[in-house]
Each structure stands twice: as structure tokens, then as C-alpha cells.
Symmetry: C2
Subunit: 342 residues, 2 copies
DNA sequence: GATGATAGCTAAAACGATTTAGTTCATTAT
DNA sequence: ATAATGAACTAAATCGTTTTAGCTATCATC
């Protein structure tokens, strides 16, 4: 059983390929094809099980109805939910999503962009890595719409982004901790020089400063990105052991770190919140189900996905001739979810 | 900045497109293109930033170097990890993965297969739904390799599959429970008439039978598939409340149900394992971190992904002319991970 | 009975590659 | 001097669509 092409149908129906094409694309009326021919062609197409070859179509029209989604790691809950939302939302506009993971490696990210561009995707949703600015501008110069998610380049407002308001989120978390009387708040973050993380860090220092909490009370732990799970866990265990008296609360700046944090706390048998309060940026099933429930700053994952698709679709609309779109620089509010860990 | 095509290069280099094509495909030597021309073409291609258009290439060659991955739901941990493994493994063979979620809906699954087929993917890795048999056979008739994962059609060994040995896994779990003295073992499963689930159910009954445990001691709860999280949780809560005395252990048959189970147990404040032992099929970070740690039957997720890709690649090799491949009917052993919940 | 309009199609180019079958020129063999 | 060989390329078909421009037959109009 071989693939059926438009010309197979044409032959069988005794008409030209153009006619079949018009019928298949609902242009038959505009092209004044007779009702009789329309019916015949449609019937034969159905009988033969015709499905248009999207490669050929894409080659001819330059549109593939496909968008490329580049995340850090699809197996991470945050990105997995984001991907699912984006898949669902894109479907509403009859677009298909192709996703891939960078593992936060700029070289890999660059390769992925190339790969997607070779496959002629119509637009991109990207979780950028460091050093990816140039590649993204190339896409834009190429007239391909791009929306950044989760991370951004704050000095380049011409590159649209949709993400959580990291600064406000951490600020809220810190104020909550301080409001509850904690001062010796340790921060555990990942060592990556990107704006979204710097925003979180900045909020930490700003709030501490506002409350006159000095350097001697600060514990900051940055886990190098490349570390495997084992080493990262060890780092956290060491931190919580060595500085136990100098810490009365820990704030984990990512989902992944929070999970490791829980593991460390479990191993060290630290009582939460009596011995140490815990707060995490970004939610996860575990935090809800753990005992005690871990309070978190929740990101609006689904809304990020929805807004990203909406923005992309607007830029993909045929009327993009003018080229002037309103800029997309969206920071969505985070939500403090109070559980039992603080 | 417009896309650079092979003919742009040809023009600039003063040669024909054929020559450029040969150079770009490392066929230059075979086609006796002179070193001088090779160098020149390569230089110009590099300078102009040439990247081959994969649509055109795919249209001509019939190969897209892309495989389609259909899972139930990419936001579920199990499938997310599977997807990531498959992405990584495929990359080793220079293949790209396009994934999509069926939400366990046969209609959607069918649409996805069509969509992938229209995009001319070279092969498929599919988590089938019920009623998908015919569509899969069509792919095979079309000479497109398919490997099923996680689920299968046991009566159709000609459709290759890679999955965990569900029967053996549940058997091991049940025997462990019984070995520990539990007899009133409740089973919580999902209501779906597919072989992998029936295998799990069968193992449950077989082991009970072997130990002479009768109907009066059995509690079986099937959650209808379409239920949302809220309703499913309520069902489990009701079960654990109403039949509390008739249950001394619960065995959750999926990851997702186990998570809901924990939530129910937490809400009802049931002491594990003293009041009730807990076991779950398929692991999850939560089970490891929850207190008490939940024992599980762990699936070899990564190995499933690896074997699936390996099998697919073998069927994708150019030497598939003979058509005779050794059948792939793989059931990988599950592993009992003992924690504190039993 | 020439002119124009309209209905109902079709021919052919184009998209960007790959690939088969030549072509051209220089060199060697007979 | 002619044929054969080989080196170094090129022309053109092809994949399956879309789309523009044009063709033919019929009918109305003056």
C-alpha cells in the first residue's frame, strides 16, 4: 500500500492535479469547479485514503504549521507541564509542536535551533541559555517569530518574553519569611548567569537590606550547574550540616533544588519548621504531599504556555505584513502558597 | 536575510547545483569533483551560512530522519522521562523526535498518527490506546516501522513491543506483601481494557488464588479513566474510609494513582505501614521522599526507551530490503524497591 | 456574425533538494 | 588518425504540492 498523491486522484477522476488541489483546499468554488467534479474528487480522495504530503506543501508554501519548542529538559516537571500546555494550546490553532531539550548547553541549543530551522518551523518558543542572544536575533532577522519563556534578555525588549515575575515572587517569599520572624535565611540557588536567576537573587538581597539584615547573617549557596544529582545533594547536605546554627530558614530557588533539599532534610532528620523553615520557588507534587507540606512560590505554568502561544500566533498571522507588533514583555505574578513548612 | 539555497551557492561558485549537492553530501570524491572545486564550494557554503532545507530533502529522498513518538501524556513523569531518554538515544543516531500526547483517546491517537504520517516521519514509537490496532497495521502495511512501548497487543506478536513485565512485577509485589503477612490487599487500578493492565490484574488474582485468599478478603477498585483528579481522589478516599477494616494493604497499579493514594492517606491520616501497608507500581520522586518512603515496583524506564530506539533503528537501516527482522517482543523485568511503607 | 463575458477547467512553473544519465575535453591505446 | 578511457563536471527529471496565467466552449449582446 503506497502513499496516495494528488496526481493519483487526478488520474482516477479524469481531471488535472490543479483541479484536485483546488478541491482539497476549499478553493473549488472560487475557481468555479462544478459541483459534480467537486463531489467526484472528494469521493475518490476519501476512497483512496488521501492525506496531503506536508513536506511538499511546506516546500511550496513556506509554511509548515509547526512550531519549535526548546526547553531546558523535558523530563523536568515544570517543563513537562509547560510542554503539554503548549501542545494543547497550539492544537487549537491547528499547529503542531516539535520539542527538544538543551540541557542548558548553549552549543546544544544552537544545534537545536539549526535543526528546527532546517525543518522550516514557522515559529519558536525558546527557553534560552546563556550566549544564545545572537542566534535568536538571527531568527528574528530571518523573519521567524520567537517568544522566550521562563528566561529572558532584559536589555533586549525587542525579543518577546513571557515569564513569572521572579523579583516580585522572591520578594514576597522573603517578606513572608521575615514577617514570621526568620532572619537567618539561607538561599540555595543554581550558578547560572542569567537574568531570571539574577532577579531572584537581587530580590533576596534587597529584602534583606530593607530589613537591615547584614552579611554575617547571610548564607548563600550556589550549586554549579553541571553537578550531577549526587554531588548537588551532597552540597546541600554539607551546607545544612555545617551551618546549622547559622540558619533558621532555607529558601530553595528552583523546583529541582527544593526536591534535593527535601531529600537532604529527610536524611539529616531536620524538623521542619521548628528547627528550620523551608520555602521553595516553583511548585511540585512532592511539596504538596510531603509532610510537612512545603510552602512555595508558585509559577503560573499554564498561563505562561498560553500567553506564549497567543503571542506567537499573533505574529504568525498572515497580516504580519506591517511588521509592527506590540511588544510582548510579560511578567506574570507568582503566588505564595502557604503550607506547613513556614 | 533570506534563506540560502543550493542554487545560490552554485551561482556564486560558478558551478552547477549538482556539483554543490555532491560536495554537501560527501559524494564529491565518488563523483570526481576536483579538490579545488570542493574547497571553493565548501568555503562559499560556510560563508553564506547554508543549511539544507530538510523539507526538500525529505520530499526527494523519502527520508526525514525524524521519528514520531506518541505517548499518553507528556506531562506525566513516566512519559516525560521516557521521552527524554528517547530524544537522547535518537540523537545518537542523528534522528530527531516529534512527540505528542493522546490523553488516552483513540480518536486523538488516530489523528496524531495521521499528522505524523503527513509529515513523513520515518518510524513510530507508540503508546497505543484501545482500538488502535488497525491504524498501526496500516502503518506497517505502509512499510513504516513501529515499536510499541508500555502497552501492547499480545495477540499480535508481529507488532514489536518493549515494556516492563507487568505480570511478573505485580506477582513479585503481591508475594512480597503476602510474605509479610498481609492478606486483605486492596487493589486500586484504572479502568482500561488493555493487555498491560489486564496482566497486572491477572497477577493479582493469581497470587491471591495461590495463597487461598478468597473473594471476601478482596477489595478491587477501578477508577474510570476519564475522571478528573478531584473525583479520582474522592473515590480513593471513599474506598479507604468505607473499607478500612477490610483492608490491611493497598497496592496502587499506576504512578498517578499512587500519588493520589498518598494524598488520600495523608488526608485521612492513616498510619503507614502500621495501619495499612502501601505498595505502588512504577516509581516517582514522591515515593522516595515521602515519609514513610513508599515501596514500589520500579519500571526500567530508560531501558525501555533505549531498546525501543535500538529496535526502531534496526528496522530503519537501509538494508531492510529483505524485510525479515527478528521479532521484538520484549518484556523487561521490574524491580521491587523496598522502602518503609511495607 | 463579430465581440465580450463567463463558466469550467488545465498547463506549467516553482519550492529546494537528490540522482541518473549524459556531455565535454584531454589523454592514452591501437 | 581513430577509438577508447577517464576525469570533471552538468542537464534534467523527480519528489508532491500550490498557484498564476491561460485555454476552450458556450452564451448573450449589438
Amino acid at each position: 500500500m503506497k502513499k496516495v498523491s494528488i496526481s493519483d486522484i487526478a488520474r482516477k477522476a479524469g481531471v488535472s492535479v490543479s483541479t484536485v488541489s483546488f478541491v482539497m483546499n476549499d478553493k473549488a468554488v472560487k475557481m468555479r469547479i462544478s459541483q459534480e467534479v467537486i463531489q467526484r474528487v472528494e469521493r475518490i480522495a476519501r476512497e483512496m485514503g488521501y492525506h496531503p504530503n506536508q513536506l511538499a506543501r511546506g516546500l511550496r508554501t513556506g509554511k509548515t504549521k509547526t512550531i519549535g519548542l526548546i526547553v531546558e529538559n523535558i523530563s523536568n516537571t515544570f517543563f513537562a507541564i509547560l510542554a503539554k500546555t503548549i501542545e494543547d494550546e497550539a492544537k487549537k490553532f491547528d499547529y503542531k509542536v516539535v520539542y527538544c531539550s538543551t540541557d542548558n548547553d548553549a552549543v546544544k541549543a544552537r544545534e537545536l535551533i539549526n535543526m528546527l530551522s532546517q525543518r522550516q518551523v514557522d515559529g519558536y518558543i525558546i527557553t534560552p541559555t546563556e550566549e544564545l542572544l545572537e542566534d535568536i536575533r538571527k531568527l528574528q532577522a530571518d523573519n521567524k517569530p520567537v517568544i522566550l519563556i521562563d528566561r529572558y534578555f532584559p536589555d533586549h525588549k525587542e525579543i518577546p518574553y513571557v515569564l513569572v515575575d521572579n523579583y516580585a515572587g522572591v520578594t514576597e517569599g522573603m517578606q513572608y519569611l521575615i514577617g514570621k520572624g526568620y532572619r537567618k535565611i539561607a538561599l540555595v540557588s543554581i550558578e547560572v548567569d542569567m537574568a531570571h536567576m539574577n532577579d531572584r537573587l537581587r530580590a533576596y538581597y534587597d529584602v534583606l537590606g530593607m530589613h537591615g539584615i547584614g552579611a554575617d547573617e547571610i548564607t548563600l549557596k550556589l550549586i554549579p550547574y553541571g553537578y550531577d544529582e549526587r554531588s548537588a545533594l551532597q552540597e546541600i547536605i554539607d551546607l545544612l550540616t555545617e551551618r546549622k546554627d547559622k540558619i533558621d530558614a532555607v529558601f530553595f530557588l528552583t523546583n529541582y533544588l527544593g526536591v534535593l533539599g527535601i531529600e537532604a532534610i529527610k536524611r539529616l532528620d531536620i524538623k521542619v519548621p521548628s528547627e528550620m523553615a523551608v520555602l521553595c520557588f516553583d511548585d511540585n507534587d512532592i511539596f504538596r504531599l510531603y509532610t510537612p507540606g512545603i510552602s512555595v512560590i508558585r509559577q503560573p505554568v499554564r498561563e505562561i504556555g498560553q500567553r506564549a502561544i497567543l503571542g506567537l500566533m499573533e505574529r504568525l498571522k498572515p497580516a504580519n505584513g506591517n511588521g509592527a507588533h506590540e511588544p510582548i514583555n510579560i511578567k506574570l505574578p507568582a503566588e505564595l502558597v502557604r503550607r506547613e513548612s513556614i
